[in-house]
């Protein structure tokens, strides 16, 4: 039985990854999960300088999901390179580094520093507010997406996956822009913008007012977007959004994802990623699937 898949030249032993920002750099979860069993660890977004993030409350529960407005708090690329990547080094799992920035220069600064690191793949989060364009997110404008993808591809010696925001009218337009810019792959979806109001206090629950919706509530939207994008680009996709079981992971692969990331589900069960890996093997055995690659994009 073959469970391995290929992401832009990088072989994963299985398609199960962690979703950026829900798993840190794996340190905290390593007491619950054998990281060697995972296809890869996608680390929390890192920027060229430390970011303090937003005020609290930063998280709120919603029906079958949650809102978060962490604000991309991170210790900066220096600490990441000297502490987080060395922690991951001994594990036999792919190291996928998620990068964020407020300006093109910030993205490029972090990408350059990662060129000589042990990172296997870079995942570029373009759902960050672009301070130069008045705070609108990079990922909502196809022209900006193509431009930043090109700029990153110009300097990166690692495969580059662009991580798309679902908060757009036409996801395929953005995906095609990333492909035109030279992206080696596409990750989707990031969180959907949402809000929750405390009706007793007549105030937003999150200090940031709005936050990103994740968890099972967003899964049908994510599956639809993975499906649409897989039909219009030829680069590999990392699919995510509400995956909490092996069945969910298989659904994303059938929609067209080569690999999947598991995010919010880690908060309900810290062992869930490993359980999904073994659940996929069980599904393959029960359904006489010899090679997981058979099911990628099998849905017409």
């Amino acid at each position: 039985m073959n469970t391995s898949v290929n992401l832009a030249g990088v072989t994963l032993k299985n398609p199960v990854l962690t979703a950026s920002g829900t798993f840190g750099s794996g340190m905290e979860f390593s007491r619950f999960v054998d990281l060697n069993k995972l296809g890869g660890v996608v680390t929390k977004g890192v920027s060229v300088v430390p970011w303090e993030g937003n005020a609290t409350p930063r998280v709120a529960e919603t029906a079958s999901g949650m809102l978060n407005a962490i604000g991309l708090q991170n210790p900066g690329i220096d600490v990441f390179l000297s502490r987080d990547l060395p922690f991951l080094k001994p594990f036999n799992t792919a190291k996928i580094v998620n990068v964020c920035g407020h300006t093109e220069e910030e993205y490029l600064g972090a990408v350059e520093r990662l060129n000589d690191s042990i990172a296997d793949i870079l995942e570029i989060n373009i759902s960050c507010p672009n301070v130069k364009a008045g705070g609108i997110t990079f990922g909502t404008d196809p022209v900006m997406v193509e431009k930043i993808t090109k700029a990153i591809k110009n300097i990166s010696r690692k495969p580059v996956f662009m991580k798309l925001s679902p908060n757009v009218t036409d996801i395929t337009e953005i995906a095609r822009a990333a492909e035109a810019g030279g992206a080696d792959g596409i990750s989707l979806i990031n969180t959907l913008m949402g809000m929750k109001i405390d009706i007793q206090r007549r105030k937003c629950l999150l200090a940031n007012k709005t936050g990103g919706l994740s968890g099972p509530a967003i899964k049908p939207v994510a599956v639809r977007m993975v499906y649409q994008v897989s039909k219009c680009v030829s680069v590999p996709l990392i699919g995510m959004g509400g995956i909490a079981s092996a069945e969910d992971a298989i659904e994303f692969m059938m929609a067209g994802a080569t690999a999947v990331s598991v995010g919010t589900a880690n908060f309900r069960n810290p062992r869930v990623t490993e359980e999904i890996v073994s659940g996929i093997e069980t599904f393959m055995r029960e359904n006489h699937i010899d090679d997981i690659r058979e099911i990628i994009g099998c849905v017409e």
Binding site: R58, V79, F267
Partner: protein, 261 residues
Amino acid sequence: MEYKKAHVVSVNEIAPSIYDMLLKAPTISAQAKPGQFICLYSNDSAHLLPRPISICEVFGEHVRLVFRIAGYGTRELSAKKTGDEVTVLGPIGNGYPEIPKDKTVTVVGGGIGIPPMLYLARKLYENGNELNIVLGYRDAGLFLKDAFAGYGKIFVATDDGSVGFHGNVVGLIEAEKLPVETVCACGPMPMLKGLSAYTEANGGTAFISLEERMACGIGACLGCITKTKETDGHSHVRNARICTEGPVFDSKVLDFTGGKR
């Protein structure tokens, strides 16, 4: 720390909307330190985040929790029956620091911040510390008060003045001139702020337990931070994780202005 199913031994309402739950959780009870907490998960996967609840006491293989119904999760817990299972993660957090036995400690609990002070008070008493125990309640529903008997001198303040001192715990401490060289506290944020200011102004040290909404409970999501005056060693920004560096902090390291200095 472990993630596991625990068995419910008993659940009782001890004051209006306040429940006392005993869980059989041997690993947690063996490891638990005063001030630590556990996360409990709803059976309904539509409610996916953990509910953090302080460890109120441990007896042998059992962990005692005392909680107030605040919403879906705590209501579900209050309806558990003997023998039911509940998924738990813990023990979590740093807990209160060890305090030399020659020190007199003022232990302060406000409202639903009282439960964790019970285990702490017993441990300090067993350690040989002299204790002043200050309990702040809304009204005459003095839940858990009698459980503190024997551990030290007990003082009660009520918001409505129905029992004991009429006012808040800081007012009581001032009126009674209780020592604040070492203070351990848990309760609502305004109480903790006032108590920290009073303690620091009198040259003492206040170890206070903070609350925040949590997602992972293990230090990975950065959902539960509190602002600190100096750069924190893990985050490399002025944020400490309440679930990992906390929930107990020396008030002097905290930035109560929320970083808006």
